[in-house]
Symmetry: C2
Subunit: 134 residues, 2 copies
Amino acid sequence: MLGRLNHVAIAVPDLAAASAVYRDTLGAKLSKPQALPDHGVTVVFVDLGNTKVELLEPLDAASPISGFLAKNPAGGMHHLCYEVDDILAARDRLKAKGARVLGDGEPKIGAHGKPVLFLHPKDFAGTLVELEQA
Amino acid sequence: MLGRLNHVAIAVPDLAAASAVYRDTLGAKLSKPQALPDHGVTVVFVDLGNTKVELLEPLDAASPISGFLAKNPAGGMHHLCYEVDDILAARDRLKAKGARVLGDGEPKIGAHGKPVLFLHPKDFAGTLVELEQA
């Protein structure tokens, strides 16, 4: 069922500073910052060739990553996003296996315009997992 | 400078349980567990097609991931490993940019038999970064 790693999301308190680290210190290729008001974040994509890192900065205190940054003020890895072919089939399989899908269990449109679901970190080795229909 | 994402390492308290989650719940392809006494861990590789997740369980209390698990008993994302072509050139560039290389700054032979270095999480958006010469 599990497909490619779509991205690793890193929550950061200062997107300009984190972008400078990836661009200037590590020499990576970066996108321009994109504000995604529906998701409460501004994002910069780091192109790694085989996958990407997404640097996420909260748009405001109500952002889904604000709580994480309150606990991790320097930033840190926030979630992993895996691709699946069929998100409804994936959800039903996960629920049948006893894994918890966050929210109401219905896919939402994610930051890439595709259906996504988030899974409970306690059921996945302490890691917040996003599934995205590829 | 920055190449592909070689792996995402997830530290886990129970490798058999985490493997079952990735194999049975998520339907991923897994390697057999390999004990790496030089690194203080037993590892299972999760094949994602474009990159991999490494599930790491400490071999004993002296393992480099034991402290992390004491703070994160359910497990969690431990580090990201990026590939570079030339690890000494990468190190020199990073030091010139003011980034801190952990340990004595000399590459060690990593879990894949290749030279690696670890970088200080505080200099990389709260993320422990491993560089591996590809």
